[in-house]
Amino acid sequence: MKRILGIIAIALAIALLFGCAKPADKAASTVIKFGVFEPLTGANAAGGAEELDGIRLAQGLYPTVTVGGKVYTIELAIADNKSDKVEAANAGQRLVDSDKVTLVLGSWGSSLSMAAGPIFEAAKIPAIALSATNVLVTKDNPYYFRVCFLDPFQGTVMANYAFKNVQAKNAVIIREVTNDYSVGLAKFFADSFKGLTGNPDAILAELNYQTNDQDFSAQLTRVKTLKPDVIFAPGNYTESALIIKQARELGITAPFLGGDTWEINEFIQVGRQAVEGAVMSAFFDNDAPLTPLSGVFVTEYQKKYGKLPSGTAVLGFDGYLLAIDAIKRADSIDPIKIRDAIAATKGFEGAAGVVNLDVNGDPIKSAVIKEVKDGKFVYKTTVAP
């Protein structure tokens, strides 16, 4: 019996292998392929899915691109990088080699993008990172670009906010030392805050914690004795919310500032009353359109998915549109010409603001500052670069 079952299982597996043989290329000349390089399984799956939602929405709205009078249909080749660096390199190579994509969108998670970066560069295929904020992703790689602002800018924005709006004279930084995003943000916040106050000792302390920590009393007791005007604590939303909760329980009243990772409902669910008044930078706000396209994005997103857009979906949307825009400007489907067009991007109006790419391929764009008020993220102001 067991043997028969085994044979059936193997037969099914083989049938599956042959059954899914690739369909014949149908009129390949009028199809242009965008690779979607995202973590759809594993630890970062939620982030990858958000970006894919944005990309799919954009594809639904703008399914074709016209180059030299010829209409090309855009197809998405989706490769899951499993939130794993080794797998990410394989997936990237597969997009280049087997799927023969013209350009690549993604990935959520800087370290995954970095794994595939050299592969895209070697194949001379442009890649647009959507929410990868690590400086190293685009540095020294002429084929990697991005549509989100990066750590230095975000750190500077929050330092400005702390100095001008909170009128802080000193600050304490609590960072998630295992997270490149948090460490980067903390560094740039510290640099520009010291510059603004003109006081090299304006950062009273830089305290560390690890991802998945639950108890922060050691760090917070220290904060209490230092009595800072403001606390900058970029990092994962769960840990950050716990930090704020425990700080309030200890009687620390200084305002908390953070980065874009806080803007997620779980942050409020974990922190509840304690996170009221927490201020963070963000890419986008549903109620404060940055460009005419912002409104289009919000309405269409709600129509398609039946909920308000959150997190990085808007960046997926923008990445796709930037790709189309670049193809039109290049008036070619040659990846190298498209790369040059992306590199020359000036004043591209996406849903999450106007994108100007600098020499590194990093955008100079506005950030939105939000505050938690009555259990909601409320728009405060827009900061121009």
Partner: protein, 358 residues
């Protein structure tokens, strides 16, 4: 018979080298990448198998030693310009700034560093047994990872390193894998190999026969760490970027999976397991894509290949509890018509149990 086997071995070796040469020359970059990744996993699986399969020490600290090897080799081979590009938050420690060594030297130093860390960890941890050892090694691997994360000026911390020179070419990784396999075969055939297996089979009996059990365990642990370091370094030079998060428990489990699938205590098994797992993971990728079967149409289900992969694994584990090879090794006799027929013929329960016992 022996002469015949020698000729066969030479022919097999030539064919193997030819396959790799042809593969390297004619396959696309994607296939070559998978081919080379298999070789790196062979090294890693062999080194873990030496511990888990041959010495009977259940260790879960492999990723830690890989991290040591990967970081040492990366930092020793990067140019000063690449280092200053990477260390944009905190400058690198001055004594490492201008160091740049040839790849082979750096690779061996990486292995030795991992071996040294293995010695430091092994000496206290190997006084433990079974599950306790597994927990202790797991803890040590995490400690290594936390140290790497926090040593910002030495390892660039959580930012990771990129632009590591791509030295892991087909010949390098397959050469290393061949050396690792040959080394292990020779080690296990030596009298030392027999003491290692004696310790695995019955520690007390081995000790009564005058084997210094503790020393055998430590030696085996250090050798395993050395090869883990080499494997980690090659992996770093292949994907050209590393960060501490990469060397987590899941990586150790991936290698453990290969070892168990291939056969705990079989060199052939580890080699086969590494190739099968690496190739299958990519070969099944079409399952994630939109599919058009005759009667089922899917829109593309990410993660489906993991489900199928797991099912295939379960089938193997159900039907071959000891992995594909068990504790057996490849031999030419295995391929004779008689042996093949015997393998196909269903065995009786009692017979199977008797054959399975060590």
């Amino acid at each position: 018979m022996n002469k015949k086997n020698t000729i066969r071995a030479v022919v097999a070796l030539t064919v193997g080298v030819a396959i790799i040469a042809i593969g390297d020359a004619f396959l696309g970059p994607f296939a070559v990448r998978i081919l080379n990744l298999s070789a790196i996993y062979i090294i890693l699986a062999l080194s873990l198998n030496l511990l888990n399969g041959f010495t009977g020490l259940f260790s879960l600290g492999h990723a830690g030693f890989m991290a040591v090897g990967a970081y040492v080799s990366a930092l020793l081979t990067m140019t000063p310009a690449q280092k200053s590009m990477n260390f944009f938050l905190t400058p690198i420690v001055p004594w490492l700034d201008t160091v740049q060594l040839p790849f082979i030297v750096a690779l061996i130093i990486a292995g030795l560093c991992a071996a040294f860390v293995g010695l430091l960890i092994g000496a206290p941890a190997l006084r433990l047994r079974d599950d306790y050892l597994a927990i202790a090694t797991l803890g040590f691997a995490e400690i290594i990872r936390v140290l790497i994360t926090n040593a910002q000026s030495l390892t660039n911390g959580a930012q990771g390193l990129k632009a590591i020179p791509k030295y892991s070419t087909t010949w390098v990784v397959w050469g290393a894998a061949a050396i690792a396999a040959l080394f292990l075969v020779m080690l296990l055939r030596s009298s030392y190999g027999r003491t290692i297996k004696a310790v695995r089979d019955d520690e007390i009996a081995a000790e009564a026969m005058g084997v210094n059990v503790f020393r055998v365990k430590v030696t085996s642990f250090v050798i395993s760490s050395f090869w883990a370091g080499i494997g980690g370094a090659l992996l770093g030079h292949m994907i050209t970027t590393i960060d501490p998060k990469m060397f987590n428990l899941i990586l150790t489990f991936n290698i453990l999976l290969i070892v168990v699938l291939g056969g705990n205590g079989s060199i052939t098994g580890s080699v086969l397991g590494a190739i099968i797992v690496t190739v299958l993971m990519e070969a099944l990728r079409f399952l994630d894509m939109p599919m058009n079967l005759v009667f089922i149409k899917t829109q593309g289900l990410p993660g489906l290949r993991m489900v199928i992969f797991s099912i295939l694994l379960m089938i193997v584990v159900l039907y071959r509890q000891r992995g594909l090879m068990g504790t057996k090794e490849f031999s030419w006799d295995m391929l004779s018509a008689k042996a093949l027929l015997a393998a196909l013929k269903p065995k009786k329960r009692g017979e199977r149990a008797r054959k399975g016992g060590r």
